[in-house]
């Protein structure tokens, strides 16, 4: 086999990385290059520098260090039994690519992941070396996300946290049974322990040290994870239960849901179909309800027959239709918590309502001016001059709303 060019390696190792959903570059510490005279900054909000036709943002150079792998996870294109072409970047090549791309403003930084070769420590060691070189030799101030290999040593995790903004460990599948079946060499127990280890380290480093009174740097962008949706038969309720557990237990910044995508050279143990993108979207919406709208996980699907999110309508609307007794809500009187539960009212609109109604009583038209559409929310609110009457409890309400929202739908 002749040596591959950087072009060929990039083609193989970015193709191999595209099944990771996360491309976030936000939520880290603020940092710029004014003092260091180097290159790079992070200013809280991440920037999407491009978009692929799959609608996904391209913020980071998302590549694998190598796609050689000793694991044989059936959903993964890089599993050891796959016939995919293999390649391996050197540390130099990754550092140079990152800097060349960053200088031209193509990217916010690097998301480096890797297949596991030889041993977890050896692979993780090389990834940490890339991050170290970028930070120290190149004075790189951009975003670095390292996918952590669960089995690697504590020292390497410490170093990774020193240079990276975010660390992540993928739980892969929503249940341990799923992991055992589809990723037989992976140990869910080890994945949990690694996440616990990261949370403890982050909490420990958040305390000022006794000697210098300064906080040591350790992955200021926190940790995240990814779950594949649709590769096994776990219900949405089960998936959300796992997410709630992960948020609570390991203080994750984000759980990413990745609709299982058929891969070239697929394993026969997997569904051969287009990825369930709408389901993925509804899961993200439900995830938002838990994190920003005050919903507890069991509430979201309580009373549903099959534990699955309704694909035709958003999860908050579906919840409201099942819990009509809590409506209508008076937008001129209700507290923030109650307003957040009204379908169609987002956190920003709720903030505007709370501010505006201090000065004037709001009518339906006023509401129409601050939010996108009132079609969804009319049956659920009382406003000045508006009461839904029997509409809230009407039998065909769901279908009626679905019809009136169809034109507004993103899908």
């Amino acid at each position: 086999m002749s040596a591959l060019t950087v072009h060929e390696k990039l083609a193989i190792l970015s193709d191999a990385a595209k099944y990771d959903a996360s491309c976030a570059s936000s939520g880290s510490a603020k940092r710029d290059s004014l003092k260091s005279g180097g290159i790079g900054s992070t200013e809280g909000m991440g920037i999407c520098h491009s978009y692929a036709p799959d609608g996904r943002c391209i913020s980071l150079l998302k590549i694998l260090l190598t796609n050689f792998c000793i694991y044989d996870c059936s959903y993964c294109i890089n599993r050891s039994s796959s016939n995919v072409r293999r390649a391996r970047f050197t540390v130099d090549e990754v550092v140079k690519l990152t800097m060349d791309f960053y200088r031209r403003n193509y990217i916010e930084g690097l998301f480096l992941s890797s297949g596991v070769i030889r041993s977890p420590d050896e692979t993780m060691g090389e990834m940490v070396e890339v991050a170290r070189r970028l930070r120290l030799d190149e004075k790189f101030g951009g975003y670095i996300h390292l996918k952590t290999i669960p089995e690697c040593s504590q020292e390497l995790v410490e170093k990774a946290g020193l240079y990276a903004d975010r660390l992540s460990i993928n739980v892969e599948l929503p249940t341990d049974e799923g992991v055992k079946k589809l990723a037989p060499e992976k140990k869910p127990e080890t994945i949990r322990l690694s996440m616990a280890r990261l949370r403890r380290k982050m909490e420990e480093k958040a305390e000022p040290t006794l000697r210098t009174k300064k906080r040591e740097r350790f992955a200021p962008g926190g940790q995240s994870t990814q779950m594949i949706v649709g590769a096994d038969r776990t219900s949405d309720d089960g998936i959300l239960h796992t997410s709630a557990r992960l948020y609570g237990s390991y203080h994750l910044r984000r759980v990413y849901y990745s609709a299982f995508s058929p891969i070239p050279d697929s394993s026969s143990s997997l569904p051969l179909q287009k990825p369930p993108l709408l389901r993925e979207h509804r899961l993200y919406q439900a995830d938002w309800l838990m994190r920003f709208y005050g919903f507890s996980q069991p509430e979201i699907l309580a009373g549903s027959s099959d534990g699955m999110l309704d694909l035709a309508i958003d999860p908050k609307l579906a919840w409201a239709l099942r819990n009509r007794g809590q409506f209508p809500v008076d937008i001129n009187r209700a507290d923030r918590e109650a307003l957040l539960r009204v379908p169609g009212l987002g956190t920003q609109v709720v903030a505007k309502i709370l501010e505006t109604r201090r000065h004037r009583r709001m009518r339906l038209e006023d509401l129409g001016r601050v939010c996108q559409s009132i079609a969804k929310l009319r049956p659920f609110i009382i406003a000045e001059g508006w009461s839904p009457g029997a509409l809230t409890d009407k039998a065909g309400l769901r279908d009626k709303i679905v019809r009136s929202c169809e034109q507004l739908s993103l899908f």
Partner: protein
């Protein structure tokens, strides 16, 4: 009120440039303080106006213009909008604010909404500039420079330049746009006149690598063209080196995805068998708890415990800790948040209280064995917290299997039940702990069980005096335990 003899004709205000906010601010202040109503003013930018500017009235002595503090910030942002009527619009807002100071808080007012929309457009354009500027490198070594051509919708180069300075401090760069240019020589930022596309370099070799990346990071099975175009509208495409790939990627996507699905699974790669044999030799069967002869073997076996469903949500089994030949075994309820993460019993807040009181009582924690009635953390997630839930009788019963073996291997003289769950586990029945506190109950197998509360009970008391009293009582209990140990 107009000063006597002042001409009521229209005022022509001339601004130095599209981004001359100080000029607008000064003129607006003078005019508003002289009660000049919006319809009497006409605003122009120097470059595109031959209208002679009017002399603006002076600020009347002692008068001050009072507007909400946040208005200036909003106005400054909206001022960058390309809408030619923005000067007049912002003056009208200023005019209204004098009598309606809360106007900006009324989100449903049409003027407030328009201001918000203009600001949003400017912020979005600034953000897109940060995203879609593409530098091309020219020269090498000391001559190395990075030059970009960009076409913003609004007048945002000035307000955005600092961002590029903060980010690309260590390189020399120039951003050219039709309206203005920004240049950083490594030390100083200079804002210059507009330029033409042909002033920027025509190519850069690294772009072909970037295009390779763009092509390969795209997943054809997830085509969502609308979502892409919403965030990356076509108007930006002509200055993005990767954008020319998009039509072909879209056209080929369905075929690529169908081909991917249609392709039958192939036989495993040739090296697969070797990798499997080398890295994943068949595992030896797990140690069963039954065959454990020491506490450490038992601990190992408990790692995979599935006797009740609590393992599902917990991080790990938190087994007992202490010497194999301890004279006394303390039994708590279950691990908490910290114990679940650390894998050790009594290391959280309640554990710290427990340690301190044991110390005060003169009991050496190194010499005692501490464990829990239930060995997995039972909780309900609430955002980023885990709320402790009490284990039920079934879970306590299931976990007794482990406690029994721990006690059988250690053979202590005394077991201390910390709280009701521990008492239930050790005695096999529920007892009123507060009533029976301090008592020693002898089990059928001869093991003496000392009953007291769980140290977390002390933590839950808010009243400091009550808390101290409870701590004192618990210390008294621990002293009694120490006496029983030596007895």
């Amino acid at each position: 009120m107009q000063p006597a003899g002042f001409d009521l004709a229209r005022y022509n205000v001339r601004l130095d440039s599209e981004t001359d906010f100080p000029g607008w601010r000064d003129a607006a202040r003078r005019l508003a303080l002289n009660e000049v109503s919006p319809e009497d003013i006409s605003w122009h930018v120097a470059a595109d106006s031959d209208q002679p500017p009017s002399d603006l009235p002076a600020v009347p002595g002692g008068k001050q213009l009072v507007v909400p503090r946040e208005f200036i910030g909003h106005a400054e942002t909206a001022f960058c909008h390309s809408d030619p009527t923005r000067f007049a619009f912002l003056y009208r807002l200023l005019w209204r604010l004098r009598t309606e100071p809360r106007l900006l808080a009324i989100a449903s007012d049409p003027d407030t909404r328009r201001l918000e929309a203009m600001e949003k457009a400017v912020r979005r354009d600034s953000h897109k500039m940060r995203a879609f500027v593409r530098f091309r490198k020219i020269g090498d070594g000391d001559e190395e420079r990075y030059v970009a051509w960009f076409e913003p919708d609004h007048f945002i180069v000035e307000r955005n330049a600092d961002f590029f300075v903060r980010r690309f401090t260590g390189m020399r760069w120039t951003i050219l746009t039709p309206h203005a240019s920004a240049d950083w020589n490594g030390e100083r930022l200079a804002i210059g006149p507009g330029a033409a596309r042909s002033d920027a370099p025509a190519q850069d070799d690294t772009e072909s690598l970037w295009r390779t990346y763009f092509e390969n990071i795209f997943n054809p099975a997830r085509l969502k063209v609308k979502a892409m175009q919403k965030e990356m509208p076509k108007k930006y495409w002509r200055n993005l080196p990767e954008a020319s790939l998009i039509p072909d990627l879209i056209a080929g996507a369905d075929k690529a995805a169908t081909a991917m699905i249609a392709r039958m699974p192939t036989t495993p790669a040739p090296h697969h068998a070797k990798v499997q044999a080398k890295h994943w030799p068949t595992r030896e069967p797990a140690v069963m708890g039954d065959g454990a002869h020491t506490i450490s073997e038992l601990r190992e076996a408990a790692k995979g415990c599935r006797r009740c469903p609590l393992w599902r949500d917990a991080t790990q089994t938190v087994f007992g800790e202490g010497p194999d030949d301890a004279r006394v075994v303390f039994v708590g309820e279950q691990p908490g948040d910290q114990e679940d993460l650390a894998g050790k019993p009594f290391v959280g807040p309640a554990g710290k209280v427990f340690d301190a009181i044991l110390d005060d009582a003169g009991v050496d924690r190194q010499k005692v064995y501490v464990t829990n009635a239930v060995k997995h953390f039972k909780f309900e997630p609430r955002g980023k917290r885990r709320i402790h839930s009490k284990p039920n009788a079934g879970e306590v019963q299931a976990c007794r299997w482990w406690i029994d073996r721990e006690l059988a291997l250690i053979m202590p003289d005394l077991a201390v039940a910390l709280g009701a769950t521990a008492a239930l586990s050790l005695l096999g029945k529920a007892i009123p702990v507060t009533k029976m506190r301090g008592q020693v109950i002898e089990r059928e197998d001869g093991l003496r069980v000392f009953v007291t509360i769980h140290p977390s009970f002390i933590l839950r008391i808010h009243e400091p005096a009550d808390k101290d009293a409870e701590r004192e009582r618990f210390l008294h209990d621990m002293r009694q335990v120490k006496r029983l140990m030596t007895a």
